[in-house]
């Protein structure tokens, strides 16, 4: 993990690490890590490895580390496909904030808005029996994480994923 925000020319991704004391009421520090990836499916593994490394350091067991990495993959895939419509020149920002017991990941894009309320929660039995495709990513994210929230800001869309370390 690099400690500055210079681009790593080898993989086209930008990394930054900060340690702050922004918390209310506690003395515990919040560690914040950033990764910026190009909006390209071939960079999904960068996003997965970035959050998996952070989740391991935070203390999650292997199953949870895998689940968190998969949830982030799903969020980024949705952005690449839907927010950016496969425009490879766009960027996705991933911000991990760690303060025990909360492991928070913000995934931000500047593409088309996405209204999660317009995506029905699938009845999986019916869904599968009709061999429907797509829309599985959000369902998986909700299964894998403790919280999944979407918010639309003036210049960006944010997916917030939270997992608690028990």
């Amino acid at each position: 993990m690099q400690k500055n925000n210079r681009a790593n020319k080898d993989d086209g991704c930008y990394r930054k690490k900060e340690i702050g004391t922004l918390t209310s009421g506690g003395n515990q520090k919040t560690t914040r890590l950033n990764l910026r990836i190009p909006s390209q499916t071939e960079k999904l593994n960068m996003a997965r490895e970035f959050v998996a490394d952070a989740a391991k350091v935070f203390g999650f067991k292997e199953d949870d580390v895998n689940n968190i990495a998969l949830a982030v993959d799903e969020a980024c895939t949705n952005i690449i496909k839907h927010a950016y419509s496969y425009d490879a020149d766009k960027e996705i920002d991933i911000v991990v904030s760690m303060k025990k017991p909360e492991f928070e990941i913000l995934i931000e894009d500047r593409g088309k808005h996405f209204n999660p309320n317009q995506v029905p929660v699938p009845n999986m039995k019916e869904y599968m029996s009709h061999y429907k495709r797509g829309g599985l990513g959000m369902y998986l994210m909700k299964k894998l994480m403790d919280k999944v929230e979407y918010s639309i800001h003036p210049k960006k869309n944010v997916v917030r994923l939270i997992k608690y370390l028990h």
């Binding site: 499916t41 071939e42 999904l44 593994n45 997965r48 199953d63 895998n66 998969l70 993959d73 799903e74 895939t77 690449i80 496909k81 999986m124 039995k125 599968m128 029996s129 061999y131 429907k132 495709r133 797509g134 599985l136 990513g137 369902y139 998986l140 299964k143 894998l144």
Partner: protein
């Protein structure tokens, strides 16, 4: 980039695809092409051996869903085998075991295909 490879082989009258590596939105089109190829050649008894499949996301799962109807209409099936617990867990979360036969061992899956052929004679 994480790699993904598909190898083809035949076991009796069953067409086996061995998956290796990482199956995500980047590599799912390769699996899609592989299914299209088999279906075009009317090879409908398809067994997907996942022994070396390290990772799967919904993009990969969606490929299995996209072709199952065509394969079953053609008189065959897509069965899967040898999944690691990590990969099986994701199939299970989405309810795949309700619609797909998933075997711990490839031989059991091949036998099941053969048994079906015997009974349909």
């Amino acid at each position: 980039m994480n790699e993904f490879k598909i190898s083809f082989r035949v076991s009796g009258k069953v067409h086996v695809m061995d998956l290796k590596g990482y199956l995500d939105a980047h590599t799912a089109p390769n699996l899609e092409e592989a299914f299209q190829k088999l279906i075009k050649e009317e090879k409908f008894n398809i067994l997907v051996n996942c022994r070396e499949l390290a990772y799967i996301s919904s993009a990969g799962l969606g490929v299995f869903m996209a072709f199952i109807e065509d394969v079953r209409t053609g008189g065959g099936d897509i069965k899967m085998s040898n999944m690691s617990p990590k990969v099986y867990n994701i199939f299970d979360l989405l309810g795949f075991p309700m619609l797909y036969e998933i075997f711990t061992d490839e031989h059991e899956a091949v036998k099941k295909f053969d048994a079906k052929k015997q009974s349909s004679k």
